[in-house]
Symmetry: C2
Subunit: 146 residues, 2 copies
């Protein structure tokens, strides 16, 4: 099923890969302004959610919700923002972003603003470890409702 | 199930109601710059997708895809954008927007730009009729995969 899947070079450059869920590769944006995960279904050529198979659409929904729960647990955000735009990078990818009333883009969207600050020192590695642990716990929950 | 559901006043003011699907009220944004539907699950107090029941999450996924297909059929967009933000209006609502490379926000998001132009004359009524017809056809397709 993963034949031909290849992560877009721009997504790869902007993120750190955290692992693979049943459908999606889970990425962490290299942007300390917003806790921000990206799910990329490992389906070659996928661009639009509504062209995934119905089963894959359900998987993506479950994984998006699992990513939201991970962010809520770790960051206690005021709101989760999810979005699939793809106007710049066409490879299908779902953004899941933890938003706070005091973040620099609030209440606007995080997309299209150019607001980005890299993680410093070992901050990214430490955070990635914390998220990976939470991802593993959530994947168990996903598989239980399958 | 619809006990206590009441459409947010700002969503009501910004849109024209096109009808109700099994889960969601379907709204058309009063903005001729972008063909733009909004799905509002008729669940009182709903704010986050991941807190809907798993069954409602699947319904919302199907309805979002059906809305995307309607927009594709009627407008032949270059890309569909979907998003659930809720930073301004907390009532859960899913945006489904038909984007074109020559639209005024491309490749940025439609949200947070303040780009809005009202439909003129009977343009809104004519468009709403066209979309309603397509929505009725899509709802049949949704119900068949139930």
């Amino acid at each position: 099923m993963e034949n031909g899947f290849d992560l877009d070079a721009r997504l790869a450059a902007d993120t750190l890969a955290l692992g693979d869920w049943p459908l999606s590769r889970v990425l962490l944006m290299r942007n300390r302004l917003f806790p921000w995960l990206i799910l990329v279904p490992r389906r070659a050529g996928a661009v639009e959610i509504h062209r995934l198979t119905p089963a894959d659409q359900v998987l993506l929904t479950r994984e998006t919700s699992a990513a939201a729960r991970v962010l809520e647990r770790l960051f206690q955000p005021d709101k989760i923002n999810t979005g699939a735009l793809g106007n710049v990078v066409s490879q299908l990818h779902m953004h899941v972003v933890a938003r706070r009333r005091d973040d620099p883009a609030w209440p606007g969207p995080v997309w299209g603003r150019g607001l980005s600050t890299p993680y410093g020192g070992d901050e990214l590695v430490v955070l990635a470890d914390r998220i990976r642990t939470a991802l593993r716990e959530e994947i168990t929950a996903i598989q239980e409702i399958r």
